[in-house]
């Protein structure tokens, strides 16, 4: 009797499990299909695409579209490929992520461990900045960048992104440090450590997981930004996203779909890499905290 019940349970379990896997597989295929189309078509000569079958594997494999997208494709008026703009994006993202993360951490530290009268009000204001749509600040930002002489430069973009990211990075760090034991800060004070020493020696070394979260968030947002990039840059300082748009919209001659696909993948690659590489550390960081020593 018991044995049969158990058998039934096992059989039902297996069936349900199979269904779950089938469903998951279906969704995975559904979500991966666009990527498949992009990868497959970026490896075909243009004639094959013109013949119409977007889903078919290439008959002649070629990496020509990738090389073209990277270094020779027509972007606007120059046949430079995406390479200089990729570098622009790197030059913009790295300092912007670094500054906004560091300042967010400092803000969080002050707002939780060196609380002053009105600290919560200041935090609410910073939180509010997360909800302001980008479009609203476009014209004031343009004016300020102009006054600072930073209009149309990568430095100007770094500044805008770093400031705009502060609301979020402060929110992340503030909530993380809120749970950080204040007794550690007090112990360090008695040990004679100053404001920055406590921050650098005590808080930062314990902030791994939240730093990774913030970096992923900031990197993805800043790299993918199009609005600020297109508004505050000129031909020399355009980030990758704007260049990709120009690549696709260049109206000279034929539409090189295979090159466009390759370019789009190139533009998405860094965020993917950041997520895959640091995502692992992120999970590891969470696990390290979860296991009691």
């Amino acid at each position: 009797m018991t044995a049969t019940t158990q058998q039934t349970a096992v059989r039902t379990g297996a069936l349900v499990r199979a269904l779950i896997y089938a469903l998951l597989l279906l969704f995975a295929v559904y979500y991966l299909l666009p990527l498949y189309v992009m990868v497959v078509n970026s490896l075909k000569p243009l004639e094959e695409i013109r013949q119409g079958n977007m889903l078919a594997l290439p008959r002649t494999w070629t990496i020509e579209p990738w090389l073209s997208a990277w270094s020779t494709a027509q972007i606007g008026v120059q046949p430079t490929g995406l390479k200089p703009y990729f570098l622009n994006s790197i030059q913009m993202v790295v300092p912007a992520v670094f500054t906004s993360t560091l300042l967010g951490a400092l803000n969080g530290y002050v707002l939780t461990k060196w609380r002053f009268r009105g600290a919560d009000f200041v935090f609410t204001l910073m939180l509010l900045s997360c909800f302001i749509p980008f479009q609203i600040v476009l014209i004031p930002s343009a004016r300020i960048l102009g006054l600072l002489g930073l209009g149309g430069t990568v430095t100007g973009l770094v500044l805008i992104h770093a400031i705009y990211g502060l609301g979020f990075t402060t929110l992340f760090f503030r909530n993380y440090y809120e749970a950080f034991p204040s007794e550690l800060v007090r112990a360090a004070m008695i040990d004679g450590a100053g404001f920055f020493q406590i921050f650098r020696r005590i808080l930062l070394p314990s902030s791994g997981p939240i730093i990774v979260v913030t970096v992923i968030w900031q990197f993805t947002n800043i790299w993918n930004d199009f609005l600020f990039g297109s508004s505050f840059s000129n031909a020399d300082s355009q980030p990758m996203t704007v260049a990709l748009n120009n690549l696709v919209n260049s109206s000279t001659g034929v539409k090189e779909y295979n090159v466009h696909f390759a370019g789009a993948i190139l533009a998405a690659l860094p965020t993917l890499v950041v997520y895959i590489v640091s995502g692992r550390y992120f999970v590891r960081g969470l696990m390290a905290g979860a296991v009691k020593g």
Partner: protein, 371 residues
Amino acid sequence: MAFLEIEKLEKRFGSVSILKGIDLDIDEGGFLVLVGPSGCGKSTLLNTIAGLESVSGGEIRIAGKRVNELHPSRRDIAMVFQSYALYPNMTVAQNISFGMEIKGVPKPERDKAIAGVSETLQIGHLLDRKPSQLSGGQRQRVAMGRALVRRPQVFLFDEPLSNLDAKLRVDMRTEIKRLHQSMKRTIVYVTHDQIEAMTLATKIAVLKDGVLQQAGTPAEIYNSPTNMFVADFMGSPAMNLIPATVNVSGKSPALDIGAYGGRTMSLDLGASNGMLSKFSGRPVMFGIRPEAITDPEGADRTSKNLITAECFVEVVEPAGSDTFAVVHLGGKEAVARLRADAKVVPGTVAKLAFNLDKAVFFDPETQQRIA
């Protein structure tokens, strides 16, 4: 002159007053324990001594020097926190030497200090571990090591044993007492555990709602509490506080207590309690420790005023070393502490000896001690 002096100390957070004019001092090498219920201000008082909280009024002096405005690191103090507050990213050795590192003490000197402290506390084998790899007792030792290595004038302990299990707590208590005896440094220690307070202190300060209730040696606090709060708070089981009426119709004042079955029990107080005559016919609170109510065979023979009376025993709780009997007196439960093999049966009347030398009396209105 006392070593650590606290004078008219006040602490306010906005309109809330946490410490309401504390006057307290401790001699050099003394062990001052601050005790009281949660929220009485004892931890705030410790934090003001440490300099982690500013004061709103009054003065703190260490070795005659005013320290109100001094940064915590310049007060020559060390503190052990309730959660130990070990830096999680550093090894035990780095934790212990962090303060010296900040001060710029050269490495060979730091290593020597670490070696010295780790030998005293027997944590030498733990020096390369991270705090997360230590047990509760080991963390406690490391936290003490971090305090010891500073060689401060005053040690501050903030409920250091409250996160340990019962057995370890007793061991560490002894350890702290031993350290204090060998180092002869001044210690201020916060706890809500009155047994810790009794065993460790050379001086106990009982606080309630930011007001110092009484400060004195453990014996003073235990035997002559100044009010009902101190009487009730110190000692386990707590002191019995029994409503009674003073009766001076006889040649010496007596105490009428409502006993079992509507009867009145009368205890002759003898001539020694003259102060009570003023309360003739009025209700008082009769305070007597459980160990002063015993079986007649186990009573203190040296007592000058030992009175035997019959009480109705409700519950008997054998505790191994003693037997506790719950009796009904004056409409309240009172605990008597009998010898382990005393013959008492619940639900019967038993003869109990009251050692009235140890009795104290309080005015139920003001809660203050009368005699």
